[in-house]
């Protein structure tokens, strides 16, 4: 069989730094995309996307369904090849040197792709091999991943006996076996109970505090607001806003929103009034949120004042409600 091995270089794990490199001015960005375009036939899924992930930070990729988040994620592992633009991950150019980049990154997929007939530990063992963890360190790596994901007690359970939250934790553990410098999380908490979601947030927050670079796609705004140093809001394949959550809120939605309730007719009138005065509005089912009005709304509109949030920004910029 044409298996070339000995003369081919393989990654020697011992050559690698174990601790994540401290971000220095010369450290390459964990992710750097420039004018990236990806088309599927007539459909342009990603249309000139720029994206930066400075080492050691957590960046959220926010956008409605079909905004190009998943395609972007696939391009970062070279499971989709960009038609145009430059992509660099951990200093490696994609797609040519993608394999080196993949050796130092962990991916938590949106779709559960565990081997269901295997135990928790067997699932991890397989990926310890795939991620080339050397034999002497394999068991320690598995134990460490089990401990981080809080699955020590379940190591002999089969994957299909686990709850949804545990399976997601196992997927995260699987992505951490080789102590990656970068982790891609594709919708990490989709379909999970609120309580389970919070457990996962704690886990992700812990990784971030350990200096791992994280790119997370999500359409849960609260998730991005809590975990991300910076968010990129995507719409129709490109970035429509980039910045820290608080900065984006201040820039696009102002400090406060006025939530006005009423009949659909009344809400229509409120929207017209706000438009005339140059205020931005957002319909949320039973109410209209008026943004950027400040004290000028006193005496004009009756409603409840609340602080603005990232969701306001998202809806204003993408024109789409969160599903």
């Amino acid at each position: 069989m044409p298996l070339v091995d000995d003369q081919m270089p393989t990654i020697e794990r011992d050559d690698r730094e174990i601790s994540p490199p401290t971000p220095t001015p010369t450290a390459p960005a964990a992710i750097r995309l420039r004018r990236v375009v990806k088309r599927f036939g007539p459909l342009t899924a990603v249309a000139g996307l720029d994206l930066d992930l400075p080492s050691g930070t957590c960046v959220g990729l926010l956008g409605p369904n079909g905004a190009g988040k998943s395609t972007t994620m696939k391009m970062l592992t070279a499971q989709a090849i960009a038609d145009e633009g430059e992509l660099e991950v951990l200093g490696f150019r994609l797609p040519a040197d993608s394999k080196q980049a993949r050796a130092q990154m962990g991916v938590v997929p949106q779709l559960d792709n565990l081997d269901v007939s295997l135990t928790v530990e067997q699932n991890l063992l397989v990926f310890a091999h795939l991620y080339r963890v050397p034999k002497a360190r394999r068991q320690a790596a598995i134990d460490r991943a089990l401990q981080i994901a809080n699955l020590i007690e379940r190591r002999t359970s089969k994957a299909d006996e686990l709850s949804g939250g545990m399976r997601r934790r196992l997927l995260i553990a699987r992505a951490l076996l080789h102590e990656p410098r970068l982790i891609l999380l594709d919708e990490p908490t989709v379909g999970l109970d609120p309580q389970v979601r919070q457990e996962l947030w704690a886990l992700i927050d812990r990784l971030r505090s350990e200096g791992v670079s994280i790119l997370m796609s999500t359409h849960y705004i609260e998730e991005a607001e809590r975990l991300c140093d910076s968010v990129t809001i995507m719409s129709h394949g490109s970035a429509v806003a980039v910045g820290a959550p608080q900065a984006l809120i201040a820039e696009h939605a102002g400090a406060e929103a006025l939530e006005v309730y009423g009949s659909p007719t009344r809400l229509g009138q409120v929207e017209a009034m706000a438009r005339d005065r140059g205020w931005r509005t957002r319909r949320t089912g039973t109410s209209v949120a008026v943004l950027g009005a400040g004290d000028a709304a006193d005496g004009v509109l009756e409603g409840e004042r609340r602080t603005t949030n990232l969701e306001d920004v998202f809806v204003l910029l993408t024109g789409e409600e969160i599903s």
């Binding site: 070339v4 080196q100 991916v107 792709n113 081997d115």
Partner: protein, 267 residues
């Protein structure tokens, strides 16, 4: 930031690295530990039934075929049938299930493994199984009167080589398939005719010319001939030809499998 240089503390990783191929095979082996019983059963019992049915059924009508005792003829030819059953079919179904339903390949390709390594590892693992399973009906035939010979020691290697080709061909079929139902066309339209026109149960030389020609481009036929000659004595250049055909088949099917799986898995 604009002057990000290509940081390459590690050397560039090559194609077909042993570590990647081994990683994928480890996954298969660990999974195999949970379903080896059913897999072994279907891969060895089917051909054994064919062996017994033809051996007793046909064998009662004819005593010798093409100069062999019928049990010798069919007991060696059956190796190729096992190769097909335990090579092409598992490759087709398991490949399709792994990329379409279980999304296993998404997870593997997110690790430092390329499609070429993935396909090669899958085919190698199936080839290893085929080399083993291929001998089972032959050993059953030994019980029923096939004389053991030293040449039988080569049979696992021949079965593994042919198995690598058929496994690759199965992966190629799966990569082309849009639905699992479309496998029926390949099975009924191609694999079943090839299975019958392989010289396993009856010799090809009494068949019409078109069937003989079909037989000569049938990798199963070359596998049958090579196994038979390994057991009863090689026939010089003819066997070099059979071997060359099997090697060529394995190489072509392997490249087809890699190419179409790349098209399938990489968007």
């Amino acid at each position: 930031m604009a002057t990000t240089t290509t940081a390459a503390p590690t050397r560039r990783l090559g194609r077909l690295e042993r570590a990647a191929v081994r990683g994928v095979m480890v996954r298969e082996i660990v999974n195999f530990s949970s379903f080896w019983r059913s897999s072994t059963f279907s891969s060895t019992v089917d051909p054994t039934i064919y062996l017994l049915a033809f051996g007793f059924g046909f064998g009662s009508l004819v005593s010798t075929v093409a100069g062999y005792d019928y049990i010798d003829f069919v007991g060696t030819g059956i190796v190729a049938t096992t190769v097909l059953f335990s090579g092409a079919f598992p490759a087709m179904y398991s490949t399709f299930v792994k990329y379409q339903f279980q999304h296993t390949y998404d997870a593997i390709l997110a690790a430092p493994v390329d499609t070429e390594e993935l396909v090669t590892a899958e085919a190698l693992w199936i080839a290893a199984r085929t080399g083993t399973y291929g001998c089972v009906p032959m050993l059953v035939a030994v019980v029923f009167g096939l004389d053991p010979s030293w040449g039988m020691l080569l049979v696992p290697l021949i079965a593994a080589l042919a198995g690598y080709g058929w496994a690759s061909f199965g992966i190629f079929i799966a990569a082309k398939a849009k639905t699992i139902e479309s496998f029926s066309y390949w099975q009924s339209g191609l694999l079943t005719p090839l299975f019958l026109v392989a010289g396993t149960f009856f010799p090809l030389d009494q068949l019409p010319e078109w069937a003989r020609i079909l037989g000569n481009v049938n990798p199963l036929y070359h596998c049958v001939e090579l196994v038979r000659h390994a057991v009863f004595g090689f026939e010089g250049w003819a066997d070099v030809g059979h071997l060359a055909f099997l090697v060529a088949f394995a190489l072509i099917a392997w490249r087809l499998a890699v190419h179409y799986m790349e098209r399938r898995l990489i968007l």
